[in-house]
């Protein structure tokens, strides 16, 4: 395959655009490190690059665990995006899913313990889906922009969950939710592969769900309908597709994905609890750059999620140097920020491809 042929391949263009923005992001990030602490900049940069590998297998396992929730919120944003919707409400859906999982894990003692985590996860999907459906219904029947509704539903969801935590599953002494000890996720052999790390069956579930989303979007008539409505609502109506139903279902699936992400993270035995504070769940927002970097393709989102998880772990290990924690956040943010530009770079690569073709003629 010669160069210009390769440059004209559709998927190659997408992947190489993502790679270029990552490299640029790293470069700018390095400059930031140089400015803040020139003596340790290179060392710090290497730690970032090594990411989870700084901690050996344990670090890698933690990296996978770190990637798990953002793969799911990334899928949530990406799935909605593929069907023409911009779901900024992943954060609210995420925290509702987390609450539902914890509530079931703590309160539904009538469910046999070995099945409790599965029931709790189902609850998290339902809760997220219902929260997503609200934005979908408003969009379908009243044409209210889903960006606005889902942003507002983030706050409503956060306060609602705080309220419900305090009234149902509250650990007064720690100002947080009670641990759902009976519903902790099984490790599914991941603890053997990655000893002493946090990773558990959740990561496997995230990968399976991503593949499932890929199949739904690309291989089924259901996905065909959802995408048709996303690209052209009027033409879909003309074709006899129930476009209102499609919009609501899209938002429900997106919400369910975020909800599952919340459920998985908060059912992990890692000391994560819902704290009663006025703070939106950041995992929801991190889903947006993950979806962008993965170009909304479910398989791309797996890798994008792993990459961001990798960066986060790098940041974690960088704390041993004398960097202000904020600098690490800025560094990661810049890389993610650049990733949002990947579309612009896609057209840049296209123009190079055109020039090359012009020469070979």
């Amino acid at each position: 395959m010669n160069v210009s042929k390769l440059l004209n391949n559709r998927s190659f263009k997408s992947v190489s655009a993502s790679v270029i923005v990552i490299l640029l992001g790293l470069l700018v990030g390095y400059i930031i490190l140089l400015i803040s602490n020139p003596r340790q900049a290179t060392e710090g940069f290497m730690i970032i690059l090594k990411g989870g590998f700084n901690g050996g297998l344990r670090g890698v396992g933690n990296m996978l665990h770190n990637a798990m929730p953002i793969i799911l919120t990334g899928l949530s944003v990406g799935f909605a995006f593929k069907t023409g919707l911009f779901n900024i409400g992943a954060s609210g859906q995420f925290i509702l899913g987390a609450f539902a999982a914890i509530y079931i894990g703590v309160k539904w003692t009538f469910v046999p313990v070995e099945f409790l985590w599965i029931v709790a996860l189902c609850g998290s999907i339902v809760a997220g889906a219902l929260w997503g459906a609200l934005a979908g219904i408003l969009k379908a029947y009243r044409n209210v922009n889903e960006v606005i509704t889902s942003i507002m539903l983030n706050y409503i969801g956060m306060y609602l969950v705080n309220f419900m935590v305090v009234n149902t599953v509250f650990d007064l002494t720690r100002n947080q939710s009670i641990s759902p000890v009976n519903a902790y996720l099984p490790t599914a052999g991941m603890n053997v592969l990655f000893p002493f790390s946090s990773v558990n069956v959740g990561f496997i579930i995230a990968i399976v769900v991503a593949i499932l989303m890929y199949i739904i979007l690309e291989k089924t008539t259901f996905g065909f309908e959802l995408k048709a409505v996303g690209y052209n609502r009027e033409a879909s109506r003309y074709a006899g597709i129930n476009e209102k139903k499609s919009i609501i279902l899209s938002m429900m699936i997106a919400g369910g994905l975020s909800g599952l992400g919340g459920g998985l993270l908060y059912l992990s035995n890692t000391g994560k609890h819902i704290e009663v504070v006025d703070l939106l769940a950041s995992e929801g927002f991190n889903g947006i750059p993950v979806a962008l970097l993965g170009l909304s393709n479910p398989i791309g989102i797996i890798f994008a999620g792993l990459f961001v998880g990798h960066m986060n772990m790098g940041g974690f290990y960088m704390q041993k140097l004398r960097f202000v924690p904020e600098v690490i956040d800025i560094m990661i943010a810049i890389i993610i920020y650049f990733s949002a530009l990947s579309l612009a770079f896609k057209s840049f690569i296209e123009s190079i491809a055109r020039k090359l073709r012009g020469k070979t003629l």
Binding site: T220, T221, N232, Y238, G240, I241
Partner: protein
Amino acid sequence: MDYVIEMLNITKEFPGIIANDNITLQVKKGEIHALLGENGAGKSTLMSVLFGLYIPEKGTIKVRGKEVKINNPNAANDLGIGMVHQHFKLVHNFSVLENIVLGVETVKNGFLKMDEAKKRIIELSKQYNLRVEPDAIIEDISVGMQQRVEILKMLYRENDILIFDEPTAVLTPQEIEELMKIMKRLVEEGKSIIFITHKLNEIKQVADRVSVLRKGKYIGTVDVANTSKEEMSEMMVGRKVIFDINKKEANIGETILSVKNLSINSKVHGKSAVNNVSFDLRKGEILCVAGIEGNGQTELVYALTGLLPVDGGEIFYKGENITHKSIRFRNSTGISHIPEDRHKHGLVLDFTLAENLVLQTYFLDQYQKHGFIDFKSRLKNAENMINQYDIRSGEGSITYVRSMSGGNQQKAIVAREVEKDPDVIIAVQPTRGLDVGAIEYIHNQLIKQRDMGRAVLLVSLELSEVLGISDRIVVMYEGEIVGDVNPSEVTQQELGLYMSGSKRGVGYERK
């Protein structure tokens, strides 16, 4: 010879297609130079090159004898080249005045000086006889006036080489007349015009010379006065075109679609968009709904196809009341719809051709198994239709429809709607914006469908089309049917009277 524009040996390529292959275009000062070609012949690409939207791979451009590089529309503007695009580039909630000065505002100490601009626009509009209201908002004015605003935009920028990209596609017959006058006036005032079109009548009417493109290649340039329409169309299509439509006597069968006292309230004004309309459509006939745009035809079709709910009256299809049936029920039980706006309704532009060809049938057993798409049968379907209906595109069935030419997009829709084996075909302005070859193709398809015993409901604004292919005509005016005439017994003038509401047929008197 004094050429104002010379485009020499221009070559421009896109993935899978050479849009312009060694094309030369020379325009004299003070002439109307027509650029003729079918859809996809490369006219728009060539003009985009001249206007700086595309950079050609090969070739040189000379303006007033000097070789130039045009890298963007601003550079073109600096050279005095202006363009009226087929789809106007206007800000809809701005006034006429604001649209004209947009980008070249007169500013004093950071404040807009609109008074002077307004004065100049009024002068210009008088000089060239371009009637506009400077303070009207774009979305409130007619398409014809919007076009005059576009022309004024060019004049305001002191452009003297004017490109008109298919300017008549969106106009009514009266507006076309007026545009022709305006163009002649512009040339008298020393402007040069490149007139992109595929309507031979208009070329005959205004153009001095015509350059013909076919499939990206340059065919030749001829003087309009010495060339017949037949010769021009042969140059354009590459074969002889029969202008007279050949059709057999209609073999009319039983009523298949019956509309009774249909009424639809208007969304725009308080009156009815469709007011108490009744008619029968029979097998084996082409029934034409004629009328000036915006007299209820669109709403009538929406009601028949289920896109718009009905406020009164009933629709019967094969004897069954389908007034409140779903869109899918209608389009899967034999009612086909070739929609008015192929980009809004007919196609999902970001889907591939293969995907668009199964847009209404993807859920049938032959294209899916247990909800999983059968890609093989979808592809086979696409390839069949592409071959059978001669749909041309850069990459075949995996081409994104957005990148196809308008004529081929329309062919794809016609293929899809006809292949469904329908009993009723509702075709709304099926030839709008298409070239001679494609129009001929679509007319023949409709007649063929009629001869197969299918019923065709044709909504058209083109009088020649209305009179040429229909077996019966009903005329709509302000939401009502005002006449039911036989095309062989009516003249264009008479039809015009019905369409403007000045005449009503027997049985359709005003109540």
